[in-house]
């Protein structure tokens, strides 16, 4: 019975194949139209290496990873976290200097959705951007990396920068004190002139010595402040260098020329529509086959009615029929001829 049902189904399908394939054809056309109307997207990617093996990694802190998170995972997570902040995204857009209309990213949310980072193994981080414009995608990726590195560096060197600022202010104060001390000595010498320094009274000598001590003390403080400023600046430079060493750009942002995954995606899309159309066509054929209760196969005579099938007479094609009929008058049978032969 199953075989008969299958044969009936196939017979029904091919009897009106043009009708049953109509939904298939329509959905294929719809799939093609959908693919044709889709916006083309260009994907740019860059690869970063995130490692902990740097001299100043401890000072810099940051993406050192942990027991349950690799450096790459840590870095990608932090990039994605930064992308959730408006300030970071605005800085990225400003740094990239892209045309929002051309890139198809009119809002911050669009930019946020267009850029992402993902870990590729232990140390590699892929940063990607998908926009409607190839160069914009590449610029967005480059800008994201630059802003991220800058942000990390700034965060790591914030203490050193604060120290530099503190010592700079302090050095300025010390410089004023040093200048004041020197002026006080000069002023005292001008007010108390002597021809021979050795003939100067003892009280003046003591006062001058006191003023010189003050000036030397101010000079020493000023010099120490300058040294501290240099140390702070060195620390900043080291921190930035450390951050840059830990985040090395392996692959520069690619400049996509072809739209992303156009062939495969398009084929998949059309294939999905075609599959739905085929299912609809087969369903329609199945329903029609189920509702058709006429005899479609000789074996159904025996299966349905238990009757003997005596013959299967084909539907003779027109060419099999006589094309020429000769007119012959009817001749009644004479009596005596109607005897069985």
């Amino acid at each position: 019975m199953t075989r008969l049902a299958i044969i009936r189904f196939v017979e029904t399908f091919f009897r009106r194949w043009y009708l049953f394939l109509l939904p298939f054809a329509l959905l294929c056309a719809l799939g093609l139209a959908t693919v044709a109307s889709q916006d083309r997207e260009f994907r740019s990617t860059a690869m970063l290496s995130s490692s902990t093996d740097t001299l100043l990694s401890n000072l810099a802190g940051g993406d050192t990873g942990s027991a349950w998170e690799s450096p790459a995972q840590s870095t990608s997570r932090r990039i994605n976290e930064f992308l959730r902040t408006d300030r970071f995204v605005e800085t990225v857009v400003e740094s990239a200097a892209i045309d929002a209309t051309v890139a198809g990213l009119p809002t911050i949310e669009d930019v946020r959705g267009a850029v992402y980072a993902s870990a590729e193994g232990e140390t590699l981080v892929r940063v990607a951007a998908v926009t409607a414009d190839g160069p914009s995608s590449a610029q967005l990726v480059a800008s994201t990396i630059d802003v991220y590195v800058q942000t990390i560096s700034e965060a790591s060197s914030a203490e050193s920068v604060a120290a530099e600022e503190f010592f700079t202010d302090l050095a300025a104060q010390y410089a004023v004190d040093l200048e004041a001390g020197r002026r006080a000595i000069d002023q005292y010498l001008r007010d108390n002139p002597v021809n021979d320094e050795e003939a100067r009274p003892l009280a003046q000598q003591i006062e001058i010595e006191r003023l010189r001590d003050i000036a030397e003390q101010a000079e020493a403080s000023y010099g120490a402040a300058l040294n501290n400023i240099q140390d702070a600046r060195l620390s900043v430079a080291r921190t930035i260098a450390d951050a840059e060493q830990r985040l090395q750009l392996i692959d520069s942002p690619s400049l996509p020329i072809e739209p992303e995954g156009s062939r495969r995606g398009d084929i998949l899309m059309v294939g999905m529509f075609a599959a739905v159309g085929l299912v609809l066509a087969l369903f329609a054929a199945g329903v029609t086959s189920f509702n058709d209760r006429t005899v479609r196969h000789p074996k159904e005579i025996g299966a349905w009615f238990g009757a003997d099938l005596l013959a299967t007479v084909p539907n003779a094609a027109p060419r099999l029929w006589p094309t020429r009929i000769e007119p012959v008058s009817s001749t009644p049978v004479e009596e005596g001829e109607l005897v069985a032969g």
Partner: protein, 248 residues
């Protein structure tokens, strides 16, 4: 009654004025040609199928092909007349036996509307010899039904005169091929089936429904039903798939 059931058969007397005739009308020309004694040839494919039918029936029956073999169908227009014509010719041509095709279907009369044929015999207007027409095929004769109203047809079917006429024809010919009306068309078919030794049901492929066939077989239960001839079979399945499905 479905729309298909109510559909009346096309006129058998109409001819196309053009040289080429529609398929259905051309098929009906075969009946008309035989009725008027015109020369014609059975389609090979149909003749082959009916040769198989004859062989099958002769093999199944110890007595061979029944003397009075009736053909009916569930609905009108299933091709009973065509099969009767071709079968009669096949038997007459292939064997040395005489065959008489008797049209008992007064409900689709054509051609003989002048009171001749079986109607004339049953009314006593003509004798049986005048009703039997010789055909261009050797050993094949034909008795037309003649024109009759429904009331007349009902009375003919149930009269003993018809049985006598058929007995007389059966005595003169080796085989009578009886063209019976459709089962759903009239209850007279059941009465006519009783006058046959055996009856075969013609089923048109892709037209007659399961219910209609079952109803016809149920109504013919009292008669000796040989089986079913599946007529005008065709398959739209492509040949490679057809081979896989073993569809003939």
């Amino acid at each position: 009654m479905s729309r298909r059931d109510r559909k009346s058969p096309p006129s058998r007397t109409r001819r196309s004025t053009t040289g080429r005739m529609p398929r259905r009308r051309r098929r009906l020309e075969a009946d008309e040609a035989l009725a008027t004694g015109q020369d014609w040839t059975s389609p090979d494919a149909i003749a082959s199928a009916l040769r198989y039918f004859v062989g099958r029936v002769e093999l199944n029956n110890a007595t061979g092909l029944p003397s009075r073999l009736g053909f009916t169908s569930a609905l009108r227009g299933e091709g009973v007349t065509t099969l009767c014509v071709v079968l009669s010719e096949v038997i007459a041509r292939d064997s040395e036996r005489t065959v008489c095709l008797v049209d008992l279907n007064w409900y689709s009369t054509g051609g003989h509307e002048d009171g001749a044929g079986l109607t004339g015999v049953l009314n006593g207007d003509i004798d049986l010899n005048s009703a039997v027409s010789r055909t261009s095929v050797d050993r094949l004769s034909y008795v037309a039904s003649g024109a009759a109203s429904d009331a007349q047809a009902h009375s003919f079917v149930r009269s003993s005169k018809l049985a006598v006429v058929l007995d007389e024809l059966a005595a003169r010919f080796d085989h009578l091929v009886l063209d019976l009306p459709a089962v759903s068309g009239t209850s007279d078919t059941l009465a006519l089936a009783r006058l046959c030794d055996s009856v075969a049901l013609v089923v048109r492929h892709g037209v007659t429904t399961e219910h209609q066939i079952q109803t016809a077989l149920d109504e013919l239960r009292g008669a000796v039903v040989l089986g079913v001839l599946l007529n005008r079979t065709t398959s739209k399945i492509p040949r490679p798939l057809r081979a896989l499905a073993e569809v003939r």
